[in-house]
Symmetry: C2
Protein backbone atom coordinates (compact mmCIF):
# COMPACT_ATOMS: atom_id res chain seq x y z
CA UNK A 1 0.00 0.00 0.00
CA UNK A 2 1.13 3.49 -0.75
CA UNK A 3 1.46 6.18 1.88
CA UNK A 4 -1.79 8.13 1.88
CA UNK A 5 -0.35 11.65 1.88
CA UNK A 6 2.14 10.78 -0.87
CA UNK A 7 -0.76 9.64 -3.06
CA UNK A 8 -2.65 12.86 -2.40
CA UNK A 9 0.40 14.84 -3.40
CA UNK A 10 0.77 12.75 -6.54
CA UNK A 11 -2.85 13.44 -7.45
CA UNK A 12 -2.37 17.15 -6.78
CA UNK A 13 0.75 17.42 -8.93
CA UNK A 14 -0.59 15.29 -11.76
CA UNK A 15 -3.97 17.00 -11.94
CA UNK A 16 -2.46 20.48 -11.72
CA UNK A 17 -0.24 19.59 -14.65
CA UNK A 18 -3.19 18.35 -16.69
CA UNK A 19 -5.42 21.27 -15.71
CA UNK A 20 -2.81 23.75 -16.88
CA UNK A 21 -2.15 21.75 -20.03
CA UNK A 22 -5.69 21.01 -21.18
CA UNK A 23 -8.01 23.02 -18.97
CA UNK A 24 -10.17 21.69 -16.18
CA UNK A 25 -13.32 20.90 -18.15
CA UNK A 26 -11.28 19.01 -20.73
CA UNK A 27 -9.44 17.00 -18.10
CA UNK A 28 -11.45 14.00 -16.93
CA UNK A 29 -11.09 11.99 -13.73
CA UNK A 30 -10.03 9.10 -15.96
CA UNK A 31 -7.24 11.26 -17.42
CA UNK A 32 -5.93 12.10 -13.99
CA UNK A 33 -6.14 8.54 -12.72
CA UNK A 34 -4.37 7.19 -15.82
CA UNK A 35 -1.63 9.82 -15.69
CA UNK A 36 -1.05 9.27 -11.97
CA UNK A 37 -1.18 5.51 -12.34
CA UNK A 38 -3.96 5.09 -9.79
CA UNK A 39 -7.59 3.98 -9.91
CA UNK A 40 -10.41 6.48 -10.24
CA UNK A 41 -11.81 5.51 -6.88
CA UNK A 42 -8.55 6.37 -5.15
CA UNK A 43 -8.95 10.00 -6.13
CA UNK A 44 -12.20 10.12 -4.21
CA UNK A 45 -10.47 8.89 -1.03
CA UNK A 46 -8.53 12.17 -1.04
CA UNK A 47 -10.85 14.68 -2.69
CA UNK A 48 -14.60 14.64 -2.42
CA UNK A 49 -15.18 15.88 -5.97
CA UNK A 50 -13.46 17.20 -9.07
CA UNK A 51 -14.72 20.65 -8.17
CA UNK A 52 -13.07 20.49 -4.78
CA UNK A 53 -9.80 19.25 -6.27
CA UNK A 54 -9.68 22.03 -8.85
CA UNK A 55 -10.68 24.61 -6.28
CA UNK A 56 -8.07 23.47 -3.76
CA UNK A 57 -5.29 23.68 -6.35
CA UNK A 58 -6.52 27.05 -7.55
CA UNK A 59 -6.81 28.66 -4.11
CA UNK A 60 -3.49 27.14 -3.05
CA UNK A 61 -1.84 28.87 -5.98
CA UNK A 62 -3.43 32.17 -5.11
CA UNK A 63 -2.47 31.80 -1.48
CA UNK A 64 1.15 31.36 -2.51
CA UNK A 65 0.76 34.47 -4.67
CA UNK A 66 -0.53 36.31 -1.61
CA UNK A 67 2.42 35.02 0.43
CA UNK A 68 4.70 36.24 -2.35
CA UNK A 69 3.15 39.68 -1.99
CA UNK A 70 3.79 39.57 1.75
CA UNK A 71 7.45 38.89 1.08
CA UNK A 72 7.47 41.84 -1.33
CA UNK A 73 6.78 44.08 1.65
CA UNK A 74 9.84 42.68 3.40
CA UNK A 75 12.25 44.25 0.96
CA UNK A 76 12.52 42.10 -2.17
CA UNK A 77 12.28 45.18 -4.35
CA UNK A 78 12.75 43.84 -7.85
CA UNK A 79 9.72 41.57 -7.55
CA UNK A 80 7.81 44.40 -5.93
CA UNK A 81 8.63 46.76 -8.77
CA UNK A 82 7.67 44.16 -11.31
CA UNK A 83 4.38 43.43 -9.62
CA UNK A 84 3.68 47.08 -8.96
CA UNK A 85 4.21 47.97 -12.60
CA UNK A 86 1.96 45.17 -13.76
CA UNK A 87 -0.71 45.92 -11.23
CA UNK A 88 -0.52 49.65 -11.89
CA UNK A 89 -1.44 49.12 -15.51
CA UNK A 90 -4.11 46.65 -14.49
CA UNK A 91 -5.61 49.24 -12.16
CA UNK A 92 -5.21 52.16 -14.52
CA UNK A 93 -7.10 50.42 -17.26
CA UNK A 94 -9.82 49.33 -14.92
CA UNK A 95 -10.11 52.89 -13.59
CA UNK A 96 -10.31 54.35 -17.06
CA UNK A 97 -13.09 52.12 -18.28
CA UNK A 98 -14.39 49.38 -16.01
CA UNK A 99 -17.20 48.48 -18.39
CA UNK A 100 -14.89 48.02 -21.35
CA UNK A 101 -12.50 46.16 -19.09
CA UNK A 102 -15.17 43.74 -17.97
CA UNK A 103 -16.39 43.44 -21.51
CA UNK A 104 -12.96 42.48 -22.77
CA UNK A 105 -12.46 40.11 -19.89
CA UNK A 106 -15.63 38.21 -20.45
CA UNK A 107 -16.76 39.16 -23.91
CA UNK A 108 -20.23 37.82 -23.42
CA UNK A 109 -23.31 39.12 -21.75
CA UNK A 110 -24.33 36.09 -19.73
CA UNK A 111 -20.85 35.68 -18.33
CA UNK A 112 -20.81 39.37 -17.37
CA UNK A 113 -24.02 38.83 -15.46
CA UNK A 114 -22.46 35.95 -13.53
CA UNK A 115 -19.43 38.00 -12.51
CA UNK A 116 -21.14 41.23 -11.58
CA UNK A 117 -22.03 40.36 -7.95
CA UNK A 118 -18.46 39.34 -7.15
CA UNK A 119 -17.14 42.41 -8.88
CA UNK A 120 -19.39 44.62 -6.79
CA UNK A 121 -18.21 42.91 -3.62
CA UNK A 122 -14.65 43.53 -4.71
CA UNK A 123 -15.33 47.18 -5.37
CA UNK A 124 -16.95 47.54 -1.95
CA UNK A 125 -13.98 45.92 -0.22
CA UNK A 126 -11.68 48.10 -2.27
CA UNK A 127 -13.47 51.28 -1.28
CA UNK A 128 -13.33 50.31 2.39
CA UNK A 129 -9.63 49.58 2.16
CA UNK A 130 -8.89 52.86 0.43
CA UNK A 131 -11.13 54.90 2.73
CA UNK A 132 -9.71 53.46 5.94
CA UNK A 133 -6.21 53.41 4.57
CA UNK A 134 -6.41 57.08 3.66
CA UNK A 135 -7.94 57.96 6.98
CA UNK A 136 -5.13 56.38 8.91
CA UNK A 137 -2.64 58.23 6.76
CA UNK A 138 -0.17 55.38 6.93
CA UNK A 139 -0.57 54.02 3.48
CA UNK A 140 1.35 55.15 0.43
CA UNK A 141 -0.63 55.61 -2.74
CA UNK A 142 1.17 52.77 -4.46
CA UNK A 143 0.40 50.45 -1.62
CA UNK A 144 -3.28 51.18 -1.83
CA UNK A 145 -3.12 50.51 -5.53
CA UNK A 146 -1.26 47.30 -4.86
CA UNK A 147 -3.84 46.13 -2.42
CA UNK A 148 -6.70 47.28 -4.57
CA UNK A 149 -5.35 45.51 -7.59
CA UNK A 150 -4.79 42.45 -5.49
CA UNK A 151 -8.38 42.25 -4.39
CA UNK A 152 -9.85 43.22 -7.72
CA UNK A 153 -7.38 41.20 -9.70
CA UNK A 154 -7.78 38.04 -7.73
CA UNK A 155 -11.55 38.28 -7.52
CA UNK A 156 -11.76 38.88 -11.25
CA UNK A 157 -9.37 36.03 -11.87
CA UNK A 158 -11.50 33.79 -9.72
CA UNK A 159 -14.58 34.89 -11.60
CA UNK A 160 -13.00 34.19 -14.96
CA UNK A 161 -11.62 30.92 -13.64
CA UNK A 162 -15.11 29.94 -12.60
CA UNK A 163 -16.68 31.02 -15.86
CA UNK A 164 -14.11 29.13 -17.91
CA UNK A 165 -14.14 25.99 -15.89
CA UNK A 166 -17.73 25.87 -14.68
CA UNK A 167 -16.81 25.43 -11.05
CA UNK A 168 -19.60 26.03 -8.55
CA UNK A 169 -17.62 26.70 -5.39
CA UNK A 170 -18.38 29.76 -3.29
CA UNK A 171 -16.18 32.83 -3.38
CA UNK A 172 -16.73 33.95 0.24
CA UNK A 173 -13.95 31.81 1.72
CA UNK A 174 -11.17 32.94 -0.56
CA UNK A 175 -12.58 36.47 -0.41
CA UNK A 176 -12.10 36.69 3.35
CA UNK A 177 -8.55 35.41 3.21
CA UNK A 178 -7.81 37.94 0.51
CA UNK A 179 -9.10 40.81 2.58
CA UNK A 180 -6.95 39.60 5.49
CA UNK A 181 -3.87 39.47 3.30
CA UNK A 182 -4.79 42.82 1.90
CA UNK A 183 -4.81 44.33 5.37
CA UNK A 184 -1.51 42.78 6.26
CA UNK A 185 0.08 44.20 3.13
CA UNK A 186 -1.36 47.62 3.92
CA UNK A 187 -0.55 47.76 7.60
CA UNK A 188 2.57 45.60 7.81
CA UNK A 189 1.29 42.42 9.44
CA UNK A 190 -1.07 44.33 11.73
CA UNK A 191 -4.76 43.53 12.01
CA UNK A 192 -7.51 45.97 11.05
Amino acid sequence: MRDGSKTKELIARTSLHLFVEKGITETTIRDIAAAAGIAEGTLYRHYESKDQLAWELFSENYMSFARELDRVQEGHDSLKDKLAAMIHRFCAFFDRDPVLFSYLLLAQHHQLKKVTPEMQTAVTVLQKVIAQGMARGEVAEMEVELAAAMVLGVVLQVAVFKAYNRINQDLSQIGETLVDTCWRVLAGNGTP
Copy 2:
Protein backbone atom coordinates in the same frame (compact mmCIF):
# COMPACT_ATOMS: atom_id res chain seq x y z
CA MET B 1 -46.85 21.42 -42.27
CA ARG B 2 -44.90 24.55 -41.52
CA ASP B 3 -43.03 26.49 -44.18
CA GLY B 4 -39.42 25.34 -44.12
CA SER B 5 -37.72 28.75 -44.13
CA LYS B 6 -40.07 30.05 -41.43
CA THR B 7 -39.04 27.13 -39.22
CA LYS B 8 -35.37 27.87 -39.80
CA GLU B 9 -35.92 31.47 -38.84
CA LEU B 10 -37.82 30.37 -35.73
CA ILE B 11 -34.92 28.13 -34.73
CA ALA B 12 -32.44 30.93 -35.35
CA ARG B 13 -34.35 33.46 -33.27
CA THR B 14 -35.12 31.05 -30.45
CA SER B 15 -31.61 29.66 -30.17
CA LEU B 16 -29.97 33.08 -30.37
CA HIS B 17 -32.17 34.18 -27.50
CA LEU B 18 -31.21 31.14 -25.41
CA PHE B 19 -27.52 31.40 -26.32
CA VAL B 20 -27.40 34.99 -25.16
CA GLU B 21 -29.42 34.19 -22.04
CA LYS B 22 -27.64 31.04 -20.85
CA GLY B 23 -24.56 30.61 -22.99
CA ILE B 24 -24.07 28.09 -25.75
CA THR B 25 -22.62 25.22 -23.75
CA GLU B 26 -25.43 25.50 -21.22
CA THR B 27 -28.10 25.56 -23.93
CA THR B 28 -29.05 22.08 -25.10
CA ILE B 29 -30.74 21.00 -28.31
CA ARG B 30 -33.68 19.93 -26.15
CA ASP B 31 -33.89 23.45 -24.71
CA ILE B 32 -34.03 24.97 -28.16
CA ALA B 33 -36.55 22.46 -29.48
CA ALA B 34 -38.81 22.90 -26.44
CA ALA B 35 -38.64 26.70 -26.59
CA ALA B 36 -39.35 26.74 -30.32
CA GLY B 37 -42.11 24.14 -30.00
CA ILE B 38 -40.51 21.77 -32.48
CA ALA B 39 -38.95 18.31 -32.28
CA GLU B 40 -35.22 17.83 -31.89
CA GLY B 41 -34.91 16.13 -35.23
CA THR B 42 -36.38 19.15 -37.01
CA LEU B 43 -33.42 21.24 -36.01
CA TYR B 44 -31.14 18.88 -37.90
CA ARG B 45 -33.11 19.43 -41.11
CA HIS B 46 -31.94 23.03 -41.07
CA TYR B 47 -28.56 22.93 -39.32
CA GLU B 48 -26.12 20.08 -39.55
CA SER B 49 -24.90 20.48 -35.98
CA LYS B 50 -25.12 22.64 -32.89
CA ASP B 51 -21.67 23.99 -33.74
CA GLN B 52 -22.84 25.12 -37.16
CA LEU B 53 -25.96 26.74 -35.73
CA ALA B 54 -23.98 28.69 -33.12
CA TRP B 55 -21.35 29.63 -35.64
CA GLU B 56 -23.87 30.84 -38.19
CA LEU B 57 -25.60 33.05 -35.65
CA PHE B 58 -22.28 34.39 -34.40
CA SER B 59 -20.81 35.20 -37.80
CA GLU B 60 -24.12 36.69 -38.94
CA ASN B 61 -23.95 39.09 -36.01
CA TYR B 62 -20.40 40.07 -36.87
CA MET B 63 -21.25 40.51 -40.50
CA SER B 64 -23.95 42.98 -39.52
CA PHE B 65 -21.37 44.74 -37.36
CA ALA B 66 -19.08 44.94 -40.40
CA ARG B 67 -21.96 46.31 -42.50
CA GLU B 68 -22.54 48.86 -39.76
CA LEU B 69 -18.92 49.94 -40.12
CA ASP B 70 -19.39 50.28 -43.86
CA ARG B 71 -22.29 52.62 -43.26
CA VAL B 72 -20.06 54.63 -40.91
CA GLN B 73 -17.94 55.52 -43.94
CA GLU B 74 -21.02 56.90 -45.68
CA GLY B 75 -21.36 59.79 -43.25
CA HIS B 76 -23.15 58.61 -40.12
CA ASP B 77 -20.60 60.41 -37.98
CA SER B 78 -21.96 59.97 -34.48
CA LEU B 79 -21.72 56.22 -34.71
CA LYS B 80 -18.27 56.57 -36.24
CA ASP B 81 -17.11 58.78 -33.39
CA LYS B 82 -18.55 56.39 -30.87
CA LEU B 83 -16.90 53.40 -32.48
CA ALA B 84 -13.66 55.23 -33.04
CA ALA B 85 -13.44 56.21 -29.38
CA MET B 86 -14.14 52.69 -28.24
CA ILE B 87 -11.75 51.17 -30.70
CA HIS B 88 -9.07 53.73 -29.91
CA ARG B 89 -9.01 52.65 -26.29
CA PHE B 90 -9.08 49.05 -27.36
CA CYS B 91 -6.08 49.61 -29.60
CA ALA B 92 -4.17 51.77 -27.17
CA PHE B 93 -4.34 49.17 -24.47
CA PHE B 94 -3.35 46.43 -26.83
CA ASP B 95 -0.42 48.54 -28.07
CA ARG B 96 0.76 49.30 -24.56
CA ASP B 97 0.89 45.71 -23.41
CA PRO B 98 -0.34 42.98 -25.73
CA VAL B 99 0.79 40.27 -23.35
CA LEU B 100 -1.15 41.66 -20.42
CA PHE B 101 -4.06 42.29 -22.74
CA SER B 102 -4.12 38.71 -23.91
CA TYR B 103 -3.63 37.52 -20.40
CA LEU B 104 -6.61 39.49 -19.17
CA LEU B 105 -8.67 38.34 -22.11
CA LEU B 106 -8.04 34.70 -21.60
CA ALA B 107 -6.62 34.41 -18.11
CA GLN B 108 -5.36 30.91 -18.64
CA HIS B 109 -2.37 29.43 -20.32
CA HIS B 110 -4.04 26.70 -22.35
CA GLN B 111 -6.63 29.09 -23.71
CA LEU B 112 -3.85 31.49 -24.69
CA LYS B 113 -2.18 28.69 -26.59
CA LYS B 114 -5.37 28.00 -28.52
CA VAL B 115 -5.73 31.62 -29.56
CA THR B 116 -2.13 32.38 -30.45
CA PRO B 117 -2.20 31.13 -34.08
CA GLU B 118 -5.27 33.18 -34.92
CA MET B 119 -3.81 36.18 -33.15
CA GLN B 120 -0.64 35.92 -35.21
CA THR B 121 -2.69 35.75 -38.40
CA ALA B 122 -4.54 38.86 -37.30
CA VAL B 123 -1.31 40.70 -36.58
CA THR B 124 0.07 39.73 -39.99
CA VAL B 125 -3.07 40.93 -41.74
CA LEU B 126 -2.92 44.10 -39.68
CA GLN B 127 0.68 44.80 -40.63
CA LYS B 128 -0.11 44.28 -44.32
CA VAL B 129 -3.05 46.62 -44.13
CA ILE B 130 -1.05 49.30 -42.38
CA ALA B 131 1.98 48.91 -44.66
CA GLN B 132 -0.03 49.05 -47.89
CA GLY B 133 -2.33 51.71 -46.50
CA MET B 134 0.60 53.92 -45.61
CA ALA B 135 2.31 53.33 -48.95
CA ARG B 136 -0.76 54.43 -50.85
CA GLY B 137 -0.93 57.54 -48.72
CA GLU B 138 -4.71 57.57 -48.86
CA VAL B 139 -5.50 56.43 -45.38
CA ALA B 140 -5.87 58.66 -42.37
CA GLU B 141 -4.26 57.44 -39.17
CA MET B 142 -7.59 56.99 -37.46
CA GLU B 143 -8.88 54.86 -40.28
CA VAL B 144 -5.94 52.54 -40.04
CA GLU B 145 -6.58 52.22 -36.35
CA LEU B 146 -10.22 51.58 -37.02
CA ALA B 147 -9.45 48.85 -39.49
CA ALA B 148 -6.74 47.41 -37.33
CA ALA B 149 -8.98 47.31 -34.31
CA MET B 150 -11.68 45.76 -36.44
CA VAL B 151 -9.52 42.88 -37.53
CA LEU B 152 -7.86 42.36 -34.19
CA GLY B 153 -11.00 42.95 -32.21
CA VAL B 154 -13.16 40.63 -34.19
CA VAL B 155 -10.58 37.89 -34.39
CA LEU B 156 -9.98 38.10 -30.67
CA GLN B 157 -13.70 38.12 -30.07
CA VAL B 158 -14.05 35.04 -32.20
CA ALA B 159 -11.21 33.40 -30.33
CA VAL B 160 -12.78 34.17 -26.97
CA PHE B 161 -16.15 33.06 -28.29
CA LYS B 162 -14.61 29.79 -29.33
CA ALA B 163 -12.76 29.31 -26.06
CA TYR B 164 -15.88 30.01 -24.01
CA ASN B 165 -18.23 27.90 -26.01
CA ARG B 166 -15.92 25.14 -27.18
CA ILE B 167 -16.83 25.52 -30.82
CA ASN B 168 -14.54 23.82 -33.30
CA GLN B 169 -15.36 25.69 -36.50
CA ASP B 170 -12.58 27.12 -38.64
CA LEU B 171 -11.62 30.78 -38.53
CA SER B 172 -10.33 31.10 -42.09
CA GLN B 173 -13.77 31.73 -43.62
CA ILE B 174 -14.73 34.61 -41.37
CA GLY B 175 -11.13 35.85 -41.49
CA GLU B 176 -11.26 36.37 -45.27
CA THR B 177 -14.56 38.21 -45.15
CA LEU B 178 -13.14 40.44 -42.45
CA VAL B 179 -10.09 41.33 -44.51
CA ASP B 180 -12.39 42.17 -47.43
CA THR B 181 -14.51 44.42 -45.27
CA CYS B 182 -11.38 45.94 -43.87
CA TRP B 183 -10.18 46.88 -47.33
CA ARG B 184 -13.52 48.34 -48.28
CA VAL B 185 -13.47 50.52 -45.17
CA LEU B 186 -9.93 51.64 -45.93
CA ALA B 187 -10.31 52.30 -49.64
CA GLY B 188 -13.98 53.27 -49.88
CA ASN B 189 -15.53 50.23 -51.54
CA GLY B 190 -12.48 49.68 -53.79
CA THR B 191 -10.64 46.39 -54.02
CA PRO B 192 -6.99 45.94 -53.07
